[in-house]
Subunit: 254 residues, 2 copies
């Protein structure tokens, strides 16, 4: 028997199949305009990839903001709980999850069993999220992936404003005054790091610290964050699937 976790986020919908031991399949598609449709498409694709039939599924758990739009799920679980459980599944030593997504950021503290003991979430302010980097990449006329590594050897240009809107103007003035894109990019990653650190300050961290979400793909940001927290940070290629994996694990255990 298998369980399935589906995490419908604002940007991408992710799903995972769990056999009680391993994640045997996973899939990601853009959420697009309709969380309901993309959830259904994702589900069908996942069954094909995993080569399983509907009757082999014991439980389907939905998470992410789009979970309410999924008619075929057995249970809804919050993102925070699923992220925590997903991280625990990947490495049971993880006690803190720092997740920076496209539109929000969160810090989750876990106990030894992967239960959430505390968390904080920012989904009200674009600063310190992927959205901030997207706006800045646009101002610098590059894409986000370029922005995330281009500053690796530059000395960071200080960007005073945390606010996405004011920082964007600052970046434009800095460029007009001849600052290099590399040094501005490095400064912007520092800014995300600072904002994240202020979020972390509200719940604290405990080892191991796991960095997930789209923004965790930047090795430079991971390094900066690690330095600021004063402890090593781990991440994983499957961190995008953390919520879906957690949902699948929770579904199996029920």
């Amino acid at each position: 028997m298998f369980s399935i976790g589906i995490d419908v986020g604002s940007v991408a919908a992710k799903a995972a199949v769990f056999d009680g031991q391993n994640i045997i399949a996973k899939e990601i598609i853009p959420t697009g305009w309709s969380p309901r449709e993309s959830g259904a498409t994702l589900f069908d694709q996942l069954l094909k990839i995993a080569q399983i039939e509907k009757h082999q599924i014991k439980k389907i758990v939905g998470t992410g903001y789009g979970r309410i739009a999924l008619p075929f799920i057995d249970k809804k679980v919050t993102e925070i709980t699923c992220h925590g459980r997903g991280a625990h599944f990947i490495d049971s030593g993880i006690r803190t999850v720092i997740d920076i997504g496209g539109q929000d950021s969160k810090v989750i503290k876990l106990d030894a069993k992967g239960n959430v003991v505390d968390f904080i979430m920012n989904d009200k302010c674009a600063a310190g999220t992927g959205r901030f980097l997207q706006v800045m990449a646009h101002a610098l006329e590059m894409d986000v992936s370029e922005l995330s590594y281009i500053g690796k050897d530059a000395s960071p240009q200080n960007v005073n404003s945390m606010c996405t809107v004011f920082a964007e103007s600052e970046v434009i003035s800095l460029m007009a005054n001849g600052a290099s894109k590399e040094s501005i990019a490095a400064g912007l990653l520092e800014s995300v790091c600072k904002k994240t650190y202020s979020l972390i300050g509200k719940v604290g961290t405990a080892d191991k610290v796991f960095f997930s979400g789209g923004v965790s793909k930047s090795p430079l940001l991971k390094e900066l964050l690690s330095k600021r927290i004063g402890t090593e940070i781990i991440s994983s290629d499957v961190s995008q699937f953390l919520g879906a994996i957690g949902a699948a694990v929770i579904g199996y255990e029920e």
Copy 2:
């Protein structure tokens, strides 16, 4: 003898001449790239308009963020103090000043003498400032002055995000879903009103309430704010010069 107040803000530089009784002249120019240069130009223009000579000036007081760049001033006074004193000069009954400028917003509580007893300032977040309206006007393909009145007869479309960046995306989706620009504009003014009200909540208001800053030019916003606070709000054509007037009055009294 005369005193002069100069308020160099991020967008405009304003100055006023006080003769101990009345403001006999005032002038406003864009700050541009150099607060120092625009301060000097403004000073020269002001003397011409007022038809006074340098030796007739007993004191020049500078305020606003650009005051540090003015070599010719006798004294620097904070914006908050100057705004308070300027409001008191305009109407000695004023006990609360709500100022929403291009880049910041503040609420100042005054005693019967125009001294500041409490204040709160937001200059970290573009939400609830003129900048928010500027970004939204751009998204709606109109200018800020159109945005500030176009929604007067519309039923406001709810805009959930306070954040400028997220609200901009929301506005774009609302338009794509066929909401009228009028109803969106009305919703956006509600948003500024809500944000301002949350700022007010931190210091409270006392009658009379004076509304100043560039954003106070919108009669609709004034009306909404007035309704929400539950008291009448006054404003003035010279409210842009509040800081400069206060600075001039302070200079004269010394």
